[in-house]
Each structure stands twice: as C-alpha cells, then as structure tokens.
Subunit: 394 residues, 2 copies
C-alpha cells in the first residue's frame, strides 16, 4: 500500500449511523407524485442490467412503442428523458430554440412562467400572452398573438397543475400550421389521465412526467418530437447548448445505432415499462373514463359539503381539482393536519394561488372511488372542527 502513504486520514464527522429506511404510509392526493402501482414498484426493484444489454435494448423499444400509444403519436423521437418532467420540458426548448428565435408562451399558471424562464435561458426572444390563473385561452386570443408576434414556437400548457385548468386544444395546431410555428405542449398532468392526441392535434413537441397519470415514481420525463420539430433541430447552426438533453445524441442511443450516450437509469425504465404496459392493458379510453368518473364524484362530493371549485366545469381537469379555501381556514395547517394525522397528502396553492386553494389530485393508480370517498369524508369530518379551532385561535 505504498502508494497510499501520502493520503490524509478519514474524517468521521459526517459518518452518521442511520437506521434502514422505513417510509411512512401515505395516500398521495396532491398535485403529484401520486402513489405508484404496486407492480411498478416491483419492477423498479428488479436487479439492474447493463444499459447496452440486448434485453435492455429490447425494453427500450417497448417503452418507446407504449409511449407512442399513450400519447397517440407516430413520432420516432419519442422517449423518456433521464430526468424528471422538468428535464423533459427543458429538452423541448433546448433542442429547438436558437438564440433570437421568438417563443410565444401562454401563461395562465405557474408552469407557463417556467417555460418562459427556460426559453430565456436559451436566448429566445420571449413573448407572452397572459391570462388570469384559472382561465383558458381562446382560439381568437391565440390567433391574434400569433399574428402580432409571428413566433417560431408557441408554448402552451394542456393541463395546468397549478390551477386545474384543461386547455381546449381543438384548432390550435391548425393555427400553428397557418402561421408556420411549432406547437409545444405541456402534458405533465394529462398523459394517461385525460384525452390527449399528439398527432391529431398537430403537436410538435410535448413532455410529461412519470409520477402522475402513469402511476410510476418520479424520475423520468417522457418526451416527443414531430418530424417538423426534427427538421428545425437538424437545421440548427450550432450544437444544442445542453449535452445531456441533446436529442441528436440521444437518438443515436434510442434509435437503431445504440451508441452509448449516458448510462440509462435502468431501473426507472423497468418501472416505466411496467407503468405503460398497465396503461395499455387497461386501454386509454377506459383510463380516461375512469379519471373522468372519479373526478365527477369528487366535484359533486366537495360541492355537496359546501366547498367551491376554482375552475368552471367545462375547463376542469379530471386529474387535478383546485378547491377554494373557505374564509377563516388556514389552508396550509389543514394540509399539515391531514398529512400528520391521516397520512393523506393534499397540495396547497402555488404562485398567485398560494393560500387560496387546495389542490386535490386523482391520478393514475389513485383515481379510484374509495380514495374519492376518503378525501370527501375527511373534508366533511375534519374541516368544521378545524374551522372553529382556527377561528378561536385567530
């Protein structure tokens, strides 16, 4: 061991002895993550194999095929990014936006703002259309902004996780073709839970996450890119200014060449494959109907006990419901109470809705009648007592 003579001695300061992990039991009815399907968790814990193992290479193709089904697209560049949904969001921009490109972002919630922030980092000329949080955009509003700004990319959120609004998509793709721009769509809270048709809607770039409608833990970001968007990528004047998310490199690994790019998160992809397999087994129409039916039960139940919902019914997301926090209630404390005393997670508001709404998710594996009953029952039995104690202490 002569070569280690110059080494310092090991500092034990940070060497803490922790117990093996036992996580608490939670029913996750917030904005995500949602509970994972037990079969997905089982797949996640299979022993890893090599990222170039022929078995794994076959699995990659299966994941891609099943993602195309879930998204209703034929795009060859359909794959899970090796990061969370935000990484896939960034991938849509990093690959297609060149410095100076006009990117028109529709902002009616938190995630529109994130898109605008990201586009700015890639030196886009960022233009905004803004609406109240909780509203959707009309075709007229979108068309007049397209005429005004003539952007290279229009970015819009299909399912706004911060507000619970589902953006009507009919006609937007046609407008983007008419005004020659790419359509970039956030489907984080819609994939697997809400009707979604990438090709029929003429969407050029979309991203999602693993931990909501797909019933998988967080960690992968499904990504898809149309041939039109591929052309814009191919015509870039320089390299994509992000190595990890560079689709031209990633496609050499996910495409037929199988050239090493980065070591794939093998176990997360085991889970993703199982999650997508279960969705295909159930069938998209059945999954969408299940989400819709359970959401309607939730809306009825909440309104029956006197609570109001932020979003009008025709724009309401089945996967995520925003409930107005009644006067005299400290919404955050009620969330803490539900988590600590009942093991149920419900989300608070983000951004301009902070302190004003709760966010209740019914996504993927969790969109079941017994969960609807449980959360309505908790609001019905716990909120009144909480209201008086919160008013008494005020």
């Amino acid at each position: 061991m002569s070569k280690t003579q110059y080494l310092p001695s090991v500092d034990q300061k940070h060497r803490k002895g922790f117990q093996p992990l036992h996580s608490p039991e939670r029913l996750l009815l917030g904005p995500g993550p949602s509970n994972a399907h037990p079969d997905v968790l089982k797949a996640l814990s299979l022993p890893p194999i090599g990222h170039l193992d022929p078995f794994y290479v076959d699995l990659m193709s299966e994941v891609q095929q099943l993602l195309r089904y879930a998204w209703q697209t034929d795009n060859r560049l359909t794959l899970p990014m090796s990061g969370t949904g935000s990484a896939a969001m960034e991938a849509t921009i990093a690959n297609t936006v060149e410095p100076g490109d006009k990117v028109l972002v529709c902002i009616n919630g938190y995630f529109g703002n994130r898109l605008a922030d990201m586009a700015g980092r890639y030196q886009a000329d960022v233009r905004l259309i803004e609406k109240q949080w909780g509203e959707a955009f009309s075709l007229e509003e979108i068309e007049s902004s397209l005429i005004e700004h003539r952007p290279a990319v229009l970015a819009i959120v299909h399912a706004e996780t911060s507000t619970g609004v589902c953006q009507p998509m009919e006609g937007i793709g046609d407008l983007c073709h008419k005004y020659d721009c790419l359509l970039l769509l956030d489907t984080v809270t819609s994939l697997g839970g809400v009707p979604l048709f990438i090709d029929s809607w003429k969407v050029d770039l979309a991203y999602s996450c693993s931990q909501k409608g797909l019933s998988c833990p967080p960690g992968l970001g499904p990504f898809t890119m149309s041939p039109r968007a591929e052309t814009k990528l191919a015509e870039r004047s320089g390299k994509v200014p992000n190595w990890y998310l560079d689709v031209s490199l990633l496609n050499k690994y996910w495409g037929s060449d199988r050239v090493y790019h980065h070591t794939a998160p093998v176990n997360m992809n085991f889970g993703m494959r199982e999650a997508l397999r279960l969705l295909a087994e159930e069938g998209l129409e059945n999954a969408w109907n299940r989400h819709r039916t359970n959401a309607e039960k939730l809306w009825d139940g909440l309104q029956r006990i006197g609570l109001e919902l932020l979003v009008p019914e025709n724009l309401r997301l089945p996967t995520l419901t925003t409930v107005l926090i009644p006067e005299g209630i400290d919404g955050k404390s009620f969330c803490v109470h539900l988590l600590n005393n009942h093991g149920v997670e419900v989300g608070g508001g983000l951004g301009s809705l902070a302190g004003k709404v709760w966010r209740i998710g019914l996504m993927g594996y969790n969109s079941e009648p017994q969960n609807v009953e449980r959360i309505i029952n908790l609001f019905e039995t716990e909120l009144p007592g909480f209201r008086s104690s919160s008013e008494a202490s005020a």
Copy 2:
C-alpha cells in the same frame, strides 16, 4: 361527456400487449452499472412520498450528510442531481463556466473528451492537454499548461472509466490555487471504491454516479461544489444557461428554504440514502481496502493465466481493470459469449481502445472474492476454446 365529442378515436396501432417484466440474472462486471445491493433495491421499491413531505425533507438532509462523508467534504452544496452522472458532470460546467472562460481539460481517455464537448457548449474557450489513453498526467505537465493557458477551470478525471487509470492527485489542488483556477474532478469510478478526499485535495467541483462504488442503480448524479466555486457562481453576469441543473435554484430546495424546484426522484433517493448508509456502516477505509484487495486478486489471477493489463500497477484503478485482448481473439464476441452463456457482463473498449481491451469492473457490492474467482475461472476455461474457434473461423 359532451365536451369530448370533437375528440378523434383512439388509434390502437401502438397498443401492444407485453408480459410483466422479468429481467435476466446478470453479474455485472463491466464498467457499470454494477449490481445493486439487495437492501438498496428494497428501499427503491418503497411506496413514494411527496417531495415536500417532512419525512422526505429529513431524508434529503441525511443523503447530503452521508454524501459529505463519502466524498470527505464539508461543502454545503453537496447533493445528488436528478439525473445520471453525466447530468452531474454537466452541472459542474453549466454553473461555473461563463462564455469566454478558459477551461483547460486534461484528456487521457473518453470522459476528458466529453468534458471538453460540454465546456464548448457553454461557450468556454476550451484548451486541451492530451496524453496517451492509459497514461496519467504529471504535476510538471499540469503546471506548464496552467502557466501557458491561465484557465478559469482545470478539469481532470480522477478515475478514467475508459482506461482504468487512477490519476495521482497530490499537489494538483495546490497548483490550482497558485494559478487561481477552480479544480473540477470526475470521480465517477472512484467514489466509494478508491481513496478520495475532496477537501484535502482542494477540489472545487466534483461529480459522480450512483451505479458503481455506491451499489445503487443508475439514475442519480452526486455533485459537490466548494465555497470558491460558489463565489464564481454568485458572480455570474447572467442566469445559469441550464434551468434543470441551476444550483442557485436547486439550493433553495436542498437548502433550508425547501422551495419547490422540480419534483424530486423520490424513490431513487430512497435507494441512494440506503446505499450511502451501507457505505457509512462499512466505513470508507474498509470499503477502499476491500476494493484494493479484490482488485489485486483479479490482477494476479489474470496475469497468472497469461493476460496482460493496460495500466502499470502504480496507476491502476481498483474499481476498473483494462485487460489487453490477446491476438487472435475477437473481444466483442467473447463478451457476447460471456453474457449469453454465463450471464456475466464484461465491457469492451471505448474510443481509441475499442477492440483492444476488455474492461472488468469490481465495484461496490460486486467487489467480492467469489466474483473475482468466477471471472478468472471464466477467462481461464472459456478463452482457450474461444481462441481456437475464432482462429479457425478467421
């Protein structure tokens, strides 16, 4: 369902019915991933919890503390990036390199080239020192290049996964202080397996992966940043040109504020926490000695059966050994044979060593005497027959 009347019908083309996943049993003795510890796989399959759940927030602090132990650093900005090791590699550059900054990259293998590629994407003025693959850099070579280029960052690989070289680190940090540049170190194949002292060696930026010395599946990229590197980040003139890897945002989530950035890959962090806990339980000195002892057994055994190693003993990595492929053997076919008939993965060469070496990893959970015996035994019994059949068919 009146609002869904305009929806197209679902295309069943990509809806394939696959069987539930059963992965093959593999002993992963390539360059990584390595087999994961069974307790890590168990942790990975625990039901997810929310990324802002107080239980999860405590777990994040535990992961950070244990990473500080594993890396022997007090850096507050020590955290696992929500991507693989390559994402953490990119994070070191994205956060600290501004356009025009000189970045001096030491290239003696595949991953030095990757660092140079990434630095170029962040508009660095990239300068190179190159050596033969399989050699290490001397202090004299580094000092003369520092004098010549006066870079803002010196990037070097501690453990080159493509060659099996362990770069001697004594004195490099002092040189970087003398010439006022940050020291960026790739520790992908050293963390947990090879003596490594971030603070004593005056390293400013380092990254690693989860799937080698830590015995966790791939999917997280440990990252650490010194106060000196933090200062460079704080003094940037604009935003970090990468949203997902922006440490100034990430620190609001991992630091005391706990402000939402992205939804953490909760289950991967369950696994990481368990992996780091097991390393702390064993103790760094014991883990390093175990890797060294088993590597020496491997080297002796391979040389005993007449094989030659690429790297001289004083520079050899205990975690990854490069073996010269003898004349008359198709190295790739032998790897395929080992995988298909014996369930054992051994790596081939990358870049300028493609077709010239095999790469045998003994990392983390897999660094055990019985694995050394198995792989030596396989080379001893299978290679001669393979040699003659390969020569016969040539």
